[in-house]
């Protein structure tokens, strides 16, 4: 499938990620909400997000080397990416998933 044709409108993309939060802490709550907004804005992206609560499983964060919270660890598309913060600046993420694909 070619993405080069200018008439092509949208490519469905897949994003596998983990969102590391700390319980219901303010930044973590905002990150959950902002992720939901992202899902709605980026309707050409199929998000598959596992939420990891570091309050409950700190070892999981240590194993993954995630020390900043909240943090979105993008696994797919490869090679992956770490986005730390409450995801309030949506453009940072939008730029990762242009509607016309890469």
């Amino acid at each position: 499938m070619s993405n080069n044709a200018p008439t092509q409108i949208t490519t469905i993309q897949r994003c596998a990620a983990r969102l590391f939060v700390c319980g219901d802490a303010p930044n973590s709550r905002r990150a959950r909400n902002n992720l939901q907004r992202l899902r709605e804005t980026l309707d050409h992206v199929e998000f598959e997000v596992e939420v990891v609560d570091v309050d409950k499983t700190p070892q999981a964060a240590l194993d993954q080397g995630i020390f900043v919270n909240p943090a979105l660890q993008v696994i797919e598309p490869a090679p992956g990416m770490l986005i730390y913060g409450d995801l309030s600046e949506l453009t940072v993420i939008e730029e990762l998933f242009p509607k016309g694909g890469y």
């Binding site: 570091v54 700190p58 020390f67 900043v68 919270n69 409450d86």
Partner: protein, 487 residues
Amino acid sequence: MITSMTNIPSDEGSGSPGIAKISVGIRGLDEVLNGGVPKGAMTLICGGPGTGKTMLGMEFLVRGAMAGHPGIMVTFEETEMALKDYAFGLGWDLAKLESKGLLTVVSARIPPEALHSGDFDLRGIINILLQKAGSMKAERVVVDAPDAFLRLLGDMPKERAELHLMQEKLQKAGMTVLITVKMRTDRASSSHYDFLDYMADCVIHLDQRVQEQVSTRRLRVTKYRGSTYGRNEYPFGITNQGTWIIPITQASLKHAGLGESLSSGVNQLDEILGGGYRRNACTLLTGNSGTGKTTFACSFALSMFSQGERVLYLDFEESWDALVSCMLSPGLDMRPAKDSEKLKFISQMPESQGIEEHLIQAFRAIEDFEPQHMIIDAISACRRMGSDQAAFEYLIRIIDHCKQRGITTLLTNLTSVMAPGQEITGIDLSSVIDTVIVLRNAEKHGHFVRDLGVLKSRGRAHSSRIYDFRITNNGIEINEKGVGHVE
């Protein structure tokens, strides 16, 4: 003007009730802190780049781990590998301590390729720390350079709130915390992290400065809630065995008394001095260039060698080979003493390093070689370590250290023509010097002749006359008749 150097934490400090402390295990630092850092509280280590903050924190954990106390290092600036490499350079195998469950090193450094979107906090790392501490039963935590991470928040109140949260959570869990933060101590204006000074229970500033082109390190404790502490600046060095702080403390008042007479190696001088130099005393040979100071010093070294005693010779003016060849002329062969390892000779350009490195080198030589006597040739050259103040700080610590250990010290001092009323050492050291011998070149009947006199000799009657002397192929000969009285 030389400022006061002594710092004597009061005696009640060591036993101040209510303050539980943890020994840091770093040479000299426990003395300055009157026992160690506050237990279950936060100590701030701040200073500019390259001042040794991270390694001081690391050493606290390593010394603790070696004594069986597990600890955790979390760094926001270094990679785990880099930290382990630095530590290896100081002789510490962090991986080995980790495998024994005595140490955990966590690099919470944000990868440079990571993206940033909105606010974040320290809760995650705090949780990780507490979980790890629980599983290893660790009570010591070093948080290295959280400023490198928190600056990304770009908002002072938020940074402050995060650090408060961390302090609160870790202290509630009973942890003793050392936190390192970049801060320039020489800056007059208030720093970004000044509030940490108020937050912490104990604050240690590290500083690296250049005096007359010689770089030197200083440590100063500026705050210790509920405890007395050494309040001065102390020189410190980072050696291949860790940090070494060189304080002057209450131990200074525990000098051993003067001991028996020791032959100076010049018979007539022994008589003039009422028996010779005194063991554990500090004797100064002062005079112009070419008055024979080094010859007297070497005569003493060989005299002690003949008694089977060990002499440490610190030479700031010439090399071993130069000294050996010069001393052959007056018939003093230094080589057998060195060959038999009774004489240890260290030659160093004074400006080659800061006073802390000179001190550590000397202290280490004293520790390893265990000399009974030490010669410093010449104290006047010590000014080239940076300034009069640097020379003073170096010498006062060396003499203090020797006096505590019962080591005899013989100093030479190169003077220009002495003006009446001039301080005898030129570096304000008179108060710690027990005996002063003045050597002079005088012009008499169309010839230069040398003479000497004893200006001061504590605790002993001595001749007050001036004596002519000659340096012959067979050592020093003093004219016992003298030439008159000291004016």
